[in-house]
């Protein structure tokens, strides 16, 4: 299968999350299986932002949800704080044990309005996590904490706390979602297309806010988006996904300045303002994305890849190093020196 391998996993003490050989499959009605995510591995160091970028159907959201066991992956391991006394293997936990670990991971979603309960006041939405988890603190303390977090996300609690979500704009609702996610001081915040539904003039506010929240609460972020420019802006490390596989993994600036995988290059050339590191003509590939029910053999990108040959149909490329913290799953990548390998 295309894009497996674990060469890019790092052996550091400060890895907060390690995902190994994650597979997510969904049965469909006719005895068929949707291969949404097929053998993805990655790790995240404390304080790092990992960007996951790809087109619709590449499995980026499924990967994010699999981290928080929504639902439990078909196979693979998700380990929080590996090698510490806080270590928790999420994929091996269930029921109450899993519930106890969940506050350490929080999520924000694409549509800010539908992710807030329309019938509840902002104060209750944001404070709910504390009401459940902060044993021993009284209402007064929870109130103060909610006010503090709302202020941190740029919402005035005296005006907003007793209002309901429909009274706010999309950008404001996204701020409230962020407040709800950070109030429990999670270790990892997973953001699934957090700015895609927002107006361009509001996007930057939310992206800057996420960076501020990261500093203030010592968060580690998983940031999912289809927008390459947005992903580069927020990420330290980036994974490019295609049809349930990782194509390229690496330090954000390296990956964007010396893109090695043909698919990464296509993405960079297809952006409304193409990246200067690729030629615009590289965007010329077929439009048809194969079905994840019956993915191509060998490398999954081969049906659209300009460099594909017989080897790509039979032998799946495994992620391998092409540079410092730069890994690619391709038999014929563009090597950082400019030559094709």
């Amino acid at each position: 299968m295309a894009g497996s391998g674990t060469a890019h996993l790092r052996d550091h003490d400060d890895v907060v999350l390690r995902v190994e050989n994650l597979v997510m499959e969904f049965p469909t009605g006719r005895h068929q299986v949707v291969h949404a995510v097929s053998d993805i591995s990655f790790d995240i160091r404390r304080g790092e932002t990992l960007g996951i970028v790809g087109e619709s159907g590449c499995g980026k959201s499924t990967t994010a949800r699999a981290i928080v066991q929504l639902p439990t992956p078909t196979s693979g391991r998700v380990v929080l704080d590996p090698g510490t006394d806080q270590e928790a293997e999420l994929t091996a936990l269930g029921g109450e044990d899993l519930r106890q670990v969940r506050p350490r991971l929080q999520m924000i979603f694409q549509d800010p309005i539908s992710s807030l309960n329309p019938r509840r006041q902002v104060r209750d939405i944001v404070g709910e996590g504390l009401n459940i988890w902060a044993e021993g603190s009284d209402d007064q303390q929870i109130r103060a904490r909610v006010d503090e977090v709302l202020e941190a996300v740029g919402i005035d609690p005296s005006v907003a706390a007793n209002r309901r979500p429909h009274e706010f704009s999309g950008g404001q609702c996204q701020r409230i979602s962020i407040a709800r996610a950070v109030i429990l001081e999670p270790e990892i915040l997973i953001c699934d297309e957090p700015v895609s539904a927002l107006d361009v003039s509001v996007q930057a506010q939310i992206l800057n806010l996420l960076e501020e929240m990261k500093d203030r609460y010592g968060l580690t972020l998983v940031f999912i988006s289809h927008d390459l420019s947005v992903v580069r802006n927020v990420s330290d490390r980036v994974i490019v996904m295609y049809l349930g596989k990782a194509c390229e993994v690496g330090d954000a600036d390296t990956l964007y300045s010396v893109p090695a995988h043909p698919y990464t290059r296509v993405l960079l050339a297809s952006a409304p303002q193409p990246a200067s590191t690729v030629d615009e003509s590289e965007s010329a590939i077929g439009d048809e994305i194969p079905s994840p029910i019956n993915p191509p053999s060998g490398c999954r990108f081969r049906t659209r890849c300009p460099r594909a040959d017989d080897r790509c149909a039979t032998e799946e490329p495994i992620l391998r190093a092409v540079g410092d913290d730069h890994f690619v799953a391709c038999h014929y990548p563009t090597m950082p020196g400019g030559t094709d390998g």
Partner: protein, 364 residues
């Protein structure tokens, strides 16, 4: 030059609602020459789609439309009143954002394309079907013969949008309006669709109105760009001029706030505080003033009109970017630490949370 094809003069569209009159478009004018592309750029609520729908006579009957639209030598709104049928869909056509909702899910692709040929150009079923096949080929659909007999759900998003484009081209329009034609599509497909529209426009000598929220989409494709905000034209200029000598603070802010694909990660973005206004109660003065780094006391009370900044370049601002009055206004705001509208200047540069404005209704 082939002369003016479309001339829009002082277009106004209002909707009466329970909360008051929504002035969705408030005095927009522009000219479009045959074979040229104009890009209309704006955020939600800017009035860009309503402008397009007004031209296409697609607004609901309760919309209040004013102004003059001349297409060639014909008065478009007079034709609307006279219920002339063979204009929209023939001379002027439109492509919408979501290709799924613009197609009829229970009719075959071929029939849908053939329909306008049969209705407007009175072609026979057989002729229209054959022509539909040619059109599919022109929009780059492989195996057109097979696709004609398929239903929309059997096609991918990119192919569907190509079908919609084929429908729009069927009767050989002189003007194509494309309203966010690629927003619902994947990035690798987006560029193909935009390039296709551009090629078709050139081959057929069509004029095009390309509506988008993304300045990057129109940068290499439009001859001219009009930037809209809250129903008003903020700036209008030939594309190269707009990017090299932008005058409006909103245009500048839009460009600065978008992350760039070539800038290193963790580059801090220049935010635009607040959010686009509700077009129900636009305050006196400039609609962008409450979010603007350049705003002066005058901007809050006196709405700026479009003034010329050189050939074909107009901007509605009292303190345009790159002019002495603009630099002065910004410097004054920087030294005061706050703009005339009370915006904290520190949010643009330092790492402090950008405060969102109070929710609607909170001001009283």
């Amino acid at each position: 030059m082939a002369g003016t094809l479309l001339s829009v003069q002082d277009l106004k569209v209002g909707f009466r609602t329970e909360q008051g009159v929504v002035r969705a478009v408030d005095g927009v004018s522009f000219d479009l020459e045959a074979g040229q592309t104009i890009g209309i750029v704006g955020e939600s609520g800017s009035g860009k789609t309503v402008t397009a729908k007004a031209l296409m006579n697609l607004l609901p009957s309760y919309a209040h439309v004013e102004g003059t639209v001349i297409f060639g030598d014909r008065d478009v709104f007079a034709m609307a009143a006279n219920r002339e049928k063979h204009f929209w869909g023939v001379e002027m056509t439109m492509v919408f954002q979501d290709p799924m909702t613009s197609l009829n899910p229970v009719k075959k692709v071929g029939e849908q394309i053939a329909e306008s040929l049969r209705v407007h150009l009175k072609k026979s079923r057989r002729e229209a079907f054959a022509e539909a096949g040619d059109l599919l080929e022109q929009v780059g659909i492989p195996e057109p013969g097979k696709r004609l007999t398929q239903y929309p759900h059997e096609l991918s998003g990119g192919l569907r949008q190509r079908v919609v484009i084929a429908m729009a081209l069927a009767c050989g329009p002189r003007l194509l309006i494309a309203d966010e034609p690629t927003t619902a599509l994947d990035v690798t497909v987006q560029k193909h669709i935009l390039d296709l529209l551009d090629d078709l426009r050139r081959d057929r000598g069509m004029a095009m109105i390309l509506i988008t929220h993304d300045l990057g989409v129109v940068k290499g494709r439009a001859d001219e760009i009009m930037v809209m905000y809250a129903g008003h034209t903020m700036e209008e200029a030939p594309t190269a001029t707009l990017f090299s000598e932008m005058r409006h603070p909103y245009t500048e802010a839009l460009l600065e706030t978008i992350p760039k694909i070539d800038t290193p990660s963790h580059t801090r973005l220049v935010p635009i505080p607040g959010r686009p206004p509700e077009v129900i109660e636009i305050p006196d003065g400039c609609p962008f003033a409450p979010r603007c780094r350049y705003s002066t006391a005058r901007c809050l009370t006196d709405r700026p009109g479009l003034t010329s900044h050189g050939s074909g370049h107009a901007c509605a601002c009292h303190a345009p970017v790159g002019t002495p009055s603009g630099s002065e206004a910004r410097a004054a705001n920087e030294s005061a630490g706050t703009t005339a509208a009370g915006l904290d200047m520190a949010q643009f540069t330092r790492k402090v949370p950008v405060i969102d404005f109070a929710p609607p209704g909170a001001e009283g």
